[in-house]
């Protein structure tokens, strides 16, 4: 696996493919758009909160459903086990 990691591009390279404006096939890439337009859209200095709460808010909603379901699982499994012991 160390051989595979040596083929990756340098860490912190500004010519990295991820930070370009366009991808290989010609469609626009979204990293630079977020940096340039986050303050203009939501008047908030923190870019990560704007992406989480405004551009990708449905992902955060699904996140809440996931953690709510995990809490309900602990309630239902342990209640049935205790009752079967009686």
């Amino acid at each position: 696996m160390i051989y595979a990691a040596s083929g990756l591009p340098y860490r912190g390279d500004p010519d990295n493919r991820m930070h370009h404006e366009e991808s290989i096939t010609g469609t626009p890439v979204i990293g630079n758009y977020f940096i340039q337009n986050a303050y203009r859209d939501a008047a908030t200095p923190n870019m990560v909160t704007v992406i989480l709460g405004d551009y990708r808010s449905i992902d955060t909603f699904g996140e809440q459903i996931v953690i709510f379901t995990a809490g309900l699982i602990t309630l239902l499994i342990l209640r049935r086990t205790k009752r079967r012991e009686d």
């Binding site: 909160t49 709460g53 809490g71």
Partner: protein
């Protein structure tokens, strides 16, 4: 945790420390716009401040703080705050969870999005705190200590 010793020193230390952790947790949630933080991180800090008393004191002292059946309605309220914000935005025109159309009078659209993100962060923090305390309560349900 069978055969747990009663230790007043650990209980005194956690009683001194819990209010400061809770105040810092609310600070991290509300200042999500200007410094790193936000909903999930503040919710985890709030849950840590409640769990400190439960681990150090046992079941008798934990009943004085937050009851066991009161965490489930808190979690439901947290998820409902998120959902109702989305529905209000959809009724007033626009997509689901589009904060630019919330019906609050006298603000321009950039400031409306600011307010929408703030309401959502409070809802997320409440839900995460209630769920983490509920997981711990169900894991130690059947034991008979303290």
């Amino acid at each position: 945790m069978k055969r747990q010793f009663k230790s007043p020193i650990v209980l005194l230390g956690s009683r001194l420390l819990t209010p400061y952790i809770m105040v810092f947790g609310w600070y991290v949630i509300i200042h999500g716009h200007y410094s790193p933080g936000g909903g999930f991180q503040g919710g985890a800090l709030l849950a840590a401040s409640i769990l400190l008393i439960r681990v150090a004191g046992g079941k008798q002292i934990a009943k004085l703080q937050i009851q066991e059946f009161a965490t489930t309605p808190l979690a439901i309220i947290g998820v409902l705050i998120y959902f109702l914000t989305g529905l209000v935005a959809m009724i007033a025109g626009g997509y689901f969870l589009d904060y630019g159309q919330l019906p609050i009078p006298g603000m321009d659209p950039a400031y409306l999005r600011y307010t929408g993100i703030l309401i959502i962060e409070v809802g997320i923090g409440l839900a995460v705190m209630a769920i983490l305390v509920m997981i711990y309560d169900n894991l130690v349900r059947g034991e008979d200590y303290g």
